[in-house]
Amino acid sequence: MNKNPIMQIKNLKKTYNPEKDNEVRAVDNISFDIYEGETFGLVGESGSGKSTTGKLLMKLEDMTDGQVIFLGESIQNKRSRQDLLAFRKNIQMIFQDPYASLNPKMTVKDIIGGPLEVHKLVSSRKERDEMVYNLLEQVGLSKSFANRYPKEFSGGQCQRIGIARALALKPKFIVADEAISALDVSIQAQIVNLMRQLKQEGNLTYLFIAHDLSMVKYISDRIAVMNRGKILELATSDDIYHVPLHPYTESLLSAIPEPDPESERNRQRMAYDESKFTYDQDDPHIGLFEITDKHFVYCHKDEVEGYKQKAERLKQAIIV
């Protein structure tokens, strides 16, 4: 796998209502890299800051502090219209609610073709329409859909349209913000397969944001687990599942219901006592520590050894 970081996130912070009673640290000093061509999963429960992170990376919101370097350039400095257009061409988003993400008053053709016109990638209406038809085909829709309004489609079809729009600009990076959680099970699988297929065809990098661990595990190369604005654990998806080190990850994993009555009957849930893992903000010994190779856990320096042992234990268990 290619190991060039396409996006580097350094000490990213987003605070709402700073220094007021209702201050919320939605994203609290997180750092990670996303490598070219990988699918990076970002998992967390509601309010964990995962969606905010996605919006910050998309420049849909302004960060409070930190730095994001995309394709070697810091995105904060992109202010001029020209810079912004160049930036947006390379990074696109797929949204959670398939209906809400499509403008109800625009035809499919305008929705998908609009970005092409904005970025002046087409010179004529005819050319634009041709490209829209191609894109529709690419996401598995008939081109006869082009003149219709989003309202007329099912959720899965709408999500395909949303994907076509994201693909129109041939971006390098796609942020999928809960792109499948609003869909029915059978449709989720369709969309996930489509995304995987497109990735192979177009050399894309995904940031896959979700609360559903099973799907994230299935699609991602690496996964970061977020809670309360912080990344608690970061590892390859296999490691996250097989060698979950942080108790929060463990509790998340134990809570996922499996479509298997027998294992449900026998399962043990792990409770997560948050108070035990809340640290003093100013302690310099707090941070993401690499426990094993490419496996990071948010903890105190003194706890590293304990986690190392735990990792060892769990790995043993797998081999046995």
Binding site: L60, R88, G114, V118
Partner: protein, 310 residues
Amino acid sequence: MEEQLKFNPVSQKKIIEMEQLSQIQGISQNDDSYTKTIIKRFLKDKIATVSLIVFVLLTLIAIFAPVLAPYNPNQTVGFFEDAPSSEFLLGTDEVGRDVLSRLIYGARVSLTVGVLSVAIYAVIGTTLGLLSGFLGGFWDSAIMRLTEVFMAFPYFMVILVIVSLIGPSIWTVTFVIGILGWPMLCRLVRGEVMKVKKADYVQAAISSGYHTFQIAFKHIFPNVLTLILVNMTFGIATSIITEASLSFLGVGVQPPTASWGNMMSNAQSLTVLANQYWRWLPAGLMVLISVLSVNFLGDGLRRAIDGEVK
């Protein structure tokens, strides 16, 4: 044997064909565009349809007033205060002008004031509302303070003062109602824009690189347009009444120009009220009919858009 044939598996290719067919059938149920759907729903609403017909008729009357009116509305053509007769179908007024002709020309004034003033404030209110809601921050609070200032004015007083400042005429009345009417709409649009702004499709438009103004006018505006339209129809009704009230107070459309409002202000005289019904009743009914029709029109439109089942 034939029975058994039914249980032959279907080829994958055929299933895929059938699937696509059913997808296309699934959406082809409703081949109408959004606008067409609304029109269809609207036409199912009887009262709204009748109102639309009435309103169209009124508009036609206003447009073809010179053809329809039997006499010059501003010319003394008969005896003063004559009761309706075959010569003057609705009688004559205090200086011998034909009431019917004045009524027909009055439609022009009332509808012009109604429609034009609302058009003016719709443009102002929508633009400011869009900007305020979309830009937020400083512009938002500046525009909101401005609406507060405008809403804190006693509406009628400002109209009265401005009208006497510029001199009362159909254009003054139109202009003043237009200039003063926008804050409510502005707030409405702003509220809606704030709602729409959070919608994912606007976020999508931003990430697609659309320019702020393109987003405001191309993506957000169509989604608040229906709301604005509904509000505008109610606004037209209000404007017609406001013109009539101003004319009643003597600062509306000025004689000799006929407006329903100043015709109706004849009813200020008890003699006229009691004995000369033709000098106020037709004008009063016209105001009532036009306002009712516009109101029902707006209500029907709202229902059609909301998809409220009738």
